[in-house]
């Protein structure tokens, strides 16, 4: 029984890690006023890049770095389209998803189904991991877990406690006023979109080299879209994203726990998607004024408009 609890907790944290990474990235991006629906595609690209580089070089960290770069580079497309060319952000994001899924499928075809023999060692925090029960589950985890928590806390600090954070949030609230304060809102939006893309790719890297340690097409399974929903659920606050992501990780784990109970596996596979709709329903019951959505989210900014 004790083992089940510990392993459930452990698996919950593992399943929540990619969601947290992608959600944090999307929060930064949306705070600057740009909606990026390309998360799913960028995540897939990150997954395949990390997998191939890790397999060929033998270094998972090189794989992570390569994924990060790939994610940032492909996100430039969305930045150009939505910031410079003021294109419709919904359509541009969808195009990015198609492109990311397509590229990852093409590049990754020779690697489908091959297991990854290189393993990323778990990080164990010395004293804390000795805490009975939870110590092993929480403090003996893949480095991605600590990275995700660290980046989420870092993103919170960036947004709430630095000058750049004020500039990013102001850009999302009112780009025109922000520009009159001498801030380059185009640059801010580019940087935010690109950072967001990097985070999504990290989430993908976790999936392929740490979580399942293999690559198949469609392995992201809608996690990118769930991350976009979690961004809303987290009220655009990276701090809230931490527990939102792990709550959702729990739903992924529940699937496995309930399988022995004779419930249809197809029904269980539906759970994360139903849960996504449910959390959005719950959050909609909140007072819309307190939702904290960036006021100019997904509205292109046109310079010098009269």
């Amino acid at each position: 029984m004790e083992d089940i609890i510990i392993s459930t907790l452990q698996r919950t944290l593992v399943a929540g890690t990619p969601l947290l990474l992608a959600t944090t990235g999307e929060i930064i991006c949306e705070r600057s006023g740009i909606l990026n629906l390309g998360v799913e595609g960028v995540m897939a690209l990150g997954a395949v890049t990390a997998f191939i580089v890790t397999m060929t070089t033998g270094s998972p960290w090189l794989g992570v770095l390569a994924a990060l770069i790939a994610g940032m580079v492909i996100s430039i497309i969305h930045a150009v389209a939505s910031v410079t060319l003021q294109a419709n952000q919904v359509v541009s994001g969808l195009a990015l998803t198609m492109l990311g899924l397509g590229l990852s499928g093409m590049v990754g075809k020779p690697y489908v189904g091959k297991p990854l023999t290189i393993k990323m060692d778990d990080l164990s925090i010395p004293v804390l991991s000795d805490i009975p029960y939870v110590g092993q589950a929480i403090f003996n985890q893949s480095p991605f877990f600590f990275l995700a928590i660290g980046l989420a806390v870092g993103a919170w600090f960036l947004l709430e406690r630095t000058r750049l954070g004020i500039q990013i949030r102001s850009t999302g609230e009112n780009p025109k006023a922000t520009e009159t304060q001498g801030v380059n809102v185009f640059l801010i939006r580019y940087v935010s979109v690109i950072i967001g893309g990097g985070f999504s790719a990290l989430a993908g890297a976790h999936l392929s080299i740490s979580y399942s340690r293999s690559w198949i097409e469609g392995m992201t399974a809608g996690r990118g879209w769930i991350a976009i929903a979690l961004t809303i659920f987290a009220l655009w606050n990276p701090g809230r994203a931490i527990w939102a992501a792990f709550l959702f990780g729990g739903i992924f784990v529940v699937q496995y726990l309930m399988q022995p109970l004779g419930i249809s596996p197809n029904f269980l596979a539906m759970l994360p998607y139903i849960a996504t709709l449910l959390i959005l329903l719950i959050i909609s019951l909140k007072d819309p004024r307190k939702l904290n959505a960036p006021a100019m989210l997904s509205t292109p900014y046109k310079r010098g408009e009269r």
């Binding site: 000058r163 949030r169 380059n184 640059l187 009269r306």
Partner: protein
């Protein structure tokens, strides 16, 4: 973001004299500024006078680095400078308070100041800046809670935040664009005190306005702009209002409004103790009651943001009425849909015309029937009668002088003034029983304003009634039969237009007197 070393403030002298030389700028081929010469010296308050649409704001946006001039140059202390972004201007010591404040409504005062301040530290900006701002505020007698969100502040307080922002950045030259339009008379006095103090400290100020009284009392010199050109310069000591008015308008201004005396008819609108909630969830209209009669123009005077917009939206069905009732000709229209209210004969010229009044990507003729498209003459049960629609659109553009080459034109391509004329034409042409008009002449030039006022009087003489919201007291007194003064969502009193008590209208608008 990147600040070349040569632009560092340490290497630049204080602005002794700023000149704009031969500045021209056009939008979509329509000139907004032509060959502008202007100069201002340290310790001087320069008035920039002109009608709405004369090009004052465009000119100042060029000076603030928001627009690039097509021709001409800007000189500081005789040296030509390139101002390619607001940051350039800030670093050169130019600060601007825009008419529509450039503040982030959802952010706190300190976050807004940190955003604009050029030496904000990267880490913990809010904590580190607090002391500096407080010290600065004491110097100018500003008292504002730095943790409050901007939307919680009054317009006057917001303006002070803007001024602090500019001064903190070391602005030698402060541009104020129509600064008094949102202030109560008392707040205007306070602003004047601040400006005089700045003048003593050797700052220069450019004060944009279309109100002659203000220019005469506040400014040392005045430059007059008409249709994008400079038409005159004068010392305020050596000139008078009449001369300035003639320069501004280009002819003698005789607002020959001929309001025939009419006895009011049957009541049309009855509002009974209505309560309305504002955008931020606070009560915006509190227990307002009034009646409106045939052959009557009822004016609501007050400083912007005291519940006018919410009241207009509640009557026309855009906003929910929490309590109370509204009837038209005895029929209850409380919280009916805007279409049903329209069908009861209520037209509406909204305050935020671009936001509510048009569908920007649709054609002009589509927009000409926005509120009327369901009427029998424009549509059968399912299909629109485009022939009639187009004829209707053509009639409006001829009658209301909408400048466009064709009605097959997306309305976003029209200028703000023309969009406004189309909306006015659309709402007036259907002979409404009641016209709710929010600031209908705002942004129009003199000719269009005069034309519109005649139209309102025509409606009145035809037996309709008009509910007129305006910040322009002159307009209110000229047109209205009765006047209510609104403050903080309540009426300070309702008066006949010749009531003596109206001499205290300034006090009422500030909420310090109530009848």
């Amino acid at each position: 973001m990147q600040i070349p070393a040569c632009r560092n403030r340490f290497f630049m002298k204080k602005i002794q004299r700023l000149e704009m030389d031969g500045i021209s700028k056009s939008f979509h081929g329509i000139p907004a500024n032509q060959d502008i010469q202007l100069s201002v010296a340290s310790g001087e308050i320069l008035g920039l006078l002109g009608e709405n649409g004369a090009g004052k704001t465009t000119l100042m946006n060029i000076l603030y680095g928001l627009y690039q001039p097509d021709a001409g140059q800007i000189k500081i202390n005789g040296q030509p400078v390139q101002l390619t972004s607001p940051l350039d201007s800030i670093l050169h010591g130019i600060g601007m308070v825009h008419q529509h404040f450039m503040l982030i409504q959802n952010h706190s005062v300190i976050e807004n100041i940190a955003l604009g301040y050029k030496d904000t530290p990267f880490f913990f900006p809010k904590i580190k800046l607090r002391e500096k701002i407080q010290q600065f505020s004491r110097q100018f007698d500003f008292t504002i809670d730095l943790n409050k969100k901007i939307w919680q502040l009054s317009a006057g307080e917001q303006q002070r935040v803007e001024i602090i922002k500019a001064l903190l950045n070391g602005a030698d030259l402060l541009i104020l664009d129509e600064p008094t339009s949102v202030l109560t008379p008392r707040e205007i006095e306070e602003l004047i005190t601040i400006l005089r103090r700045m003048k003593q400290d050797g700052h220069s100020v450019i004060f944009i306005s279309h109100k002659l009284n203000e220019i005469m009392t506040i400014c040392d010199r005045v430059t007059v702009l008409r249709k994008g050109r400079i038409v005159g310069n004068a010392d305020t000591r050596d000139t008078d209002k009449k001369t300035l008015a003639r320069m501004m308008v280009g002819r003698d201004v005789v607002f020959n409004i001929n309001k025939e005396p009419l006895t009011r008819g049957k009541p049309i609108l009855k509002a009974n103790r209505i309560h309305v909630t504002g955008d931020m969830g606070l009560p915006a209209v509190k227990a307002i009651s009034f009646d409106l009669y045939e052959n009557e123009i009822f004016g609501i005077a007050g400083v912007a943001g005291n519940g006018q917009r919410e009241l207009a939206e509640a009557i026309t069905g855009i906003r929910r009425i929490d309590q109370g009732s509204v009837t038209i000709n005895g029929k209850d229209i409380t919280n009916l849909s805007p279409r049903h209210i329209y069908d009861h004969g209520v037209s509406h010229v909204p305050e935020e015309r671009i936001r509510f009044g048009i569908a920007p990507g649709l054609f002009l003729y589509d927009n000409a029937i926005l509120k009327q498209h369901h009427l029998k003459k424009f549509s059968s049960r399912y299909f629109l009668r485009y022939n009639q629609v187009k004829t209707h659109a053509r009639n409006i553009i001829t009658e209301f002088n909408v400048a466009t080459h064709t009605i097959d034109n997306q309305i976003r391509n029209l200028s703000g003034g023309n969009i406004q004329k189309l909306i006015l034409g659309r709402e007036i042409s259907e002979q409404p029983r009641l016209l709710v008009a929010s600031h209908p002449t705002y942004g129009l030039d003199v000719g269009a304003t005069e034309f519109l006022r005649h139209h309102l009087l025509k409606l009145r003489s035809q037996g309709s009634s008009v509910l007129l919201f305006s910040e322009d007291l002159e307009e209110i007194f000229e047109l209205c039969d009765r006047i209510a003064v609104i403050f903080a969502g309540e009426f300070m009193g309702i008066f006949d237009s010749d009531d003596d008590r109206l001499c205290d209208i300034g006090l009422m608008m500030a909420g310090s007197k109530r009848f």
